[in-house]
Symmetry: D2
Subunit: 148 residues, 4 copies
């Protein structure tokens, strides 16, 4: 795994601050797990309101944390004053999203001045086991004019 | 645009029934707009809880309705007793998702016995204008053993 | 369908010149069909060397013309001196690619200063019928420093 | 990395036989590198005919080996008599594809009865260095009625 050097000494405050301003994260109940340069884990505990018709986590909830984990992994490597937007992502749903909580592990594959590519792998956690329920590729864009 | 013939005379009841059982749809405030064989429009009114850090609709909320609209467009063409699961999707975010509400227009491109491919286009509605904010390609899978 | 205004009066010469320098296009036998601002059709006649193990056009050949048609549709709208690179694409293969020739119809969905999003639909042509064999979403990037 | 058990004792002969019948592979000059259950590496040596206008390997050539490596990785795990088709794939181009040869490393992420998901990472090799030039997610479908 590549190790990345952050270009903003305050990268962690920026990521946590941006996350705290995302009302959708709070509404779903998403929490930050792990943070390091180029890496973000987001955790989504089970709530009945997040389910689809078969009582799995809805694919949209899974996609939301996959996208956000990838985006914060990217933002952690950006210079000061540069914000992040998702340009696009693709996600494969691999197994039913059944569990006490989901964790999305976002990892930067290729940092770039304009575009950064991250992957996210999402796991369902139950007792002591984890099941790989989704994998995503995400293209993030650096934005000069946006606060993150 | 291709016209599709439904294979289940009760297709509309099935789609509405499945939608009503998706708690995540209700939690976000998603409503059914238009329904016809191979076509589903889903509407997501503005709520502050759905926003990201720049006060746009969160990409995850946009992706959720894009995926679901594509899935119900597919389900409307399935035979009785066959359920639907999203295998994967890809979404491009085209413009900031700012508006009074979003509408996702899911349309079947290619129905199939095992896999159905749909597209979804998402628009932000403001007064009398609409802005194209996202486009998605979605692969849906027919499932024999699932209630939808 | 949106009508686009080209920003380079010589857009057609640039597209044809760039295409002529792509040796891979010549090696596969790709020809330009239709060109207009924001639109490019590329045609790939049947050759046994392009087949896969079931004697369909190889998915890689289909993807090549889908990607290139989307890229030239984008380039046709770029200002003078700006080149194009594919950032990423996604393609769904819908039907067996059997026919006398394939045509990929690339159309710009959303032009942009940095990123342009195009779609490509690929059809197999036989006598007087056409079959929709693939659909793609393509993200193109503007590059200041490259000749196209 | 997960270890997979092949379900066909003749998996290697099947993969090599199917590869040998793909005329497009021979036309581009693709060679099999590594094979093991759930893993396929394909190698594409430099040829001027594979270049695009900036003298990089064409994205279509890169996509072709990414798709095929993912597909053969999947096929290696299929039971006897079941063939493979690509349902869809998505590829991100990460760096210019400049080098003496490309290698696409296809790895199964999730095997399945109907759908298998693989990833492919493509590297450009130069002297003793390798550059990560593309990453792809590929959905493969099992087909009962096809010879592979």
């Amino acid at each position: 795994m590549t190790r990345f050097e952050p270009r903003d000494p305050d990268w962690e405050d920026r990521v946590r601050g941006s996350f705290a301003r995302q009302e959708f994260m709070e509404y779903l109940g998403v929490e930050i797990g792990h943070l390091s340069p180029g890496e973000t884990d987001l955790v989504l505990p089970f709530r009945q309101e997040l389910m689809q018709q078969h009582d799995y986590f809805h694919g949209g909830a899974t996609a939301t944390i996959a996208d956000s984990a990838a985006g914060y992994a990217a933002l952690s490597l950006f210079p000061p004053g540069i914000g992040v937007l998702t340009a696009e992502f693709k996600i494969n749903l691999l197994n039913p999203a059944i569990g006490e909580r989901l964790v999305a592990r976002g990892r930067v594959i290729k940092p770039g001045r304009t575009l950064t590519v991250s992957r996210s792998d999402v796991y369902a956690l139950n007792n002591n086991s984890e099941t790989h329920i989704a994998t995503a590729l995400v293209t993030l864009m650096s934005i000069e004019t946006l606060d993150d």
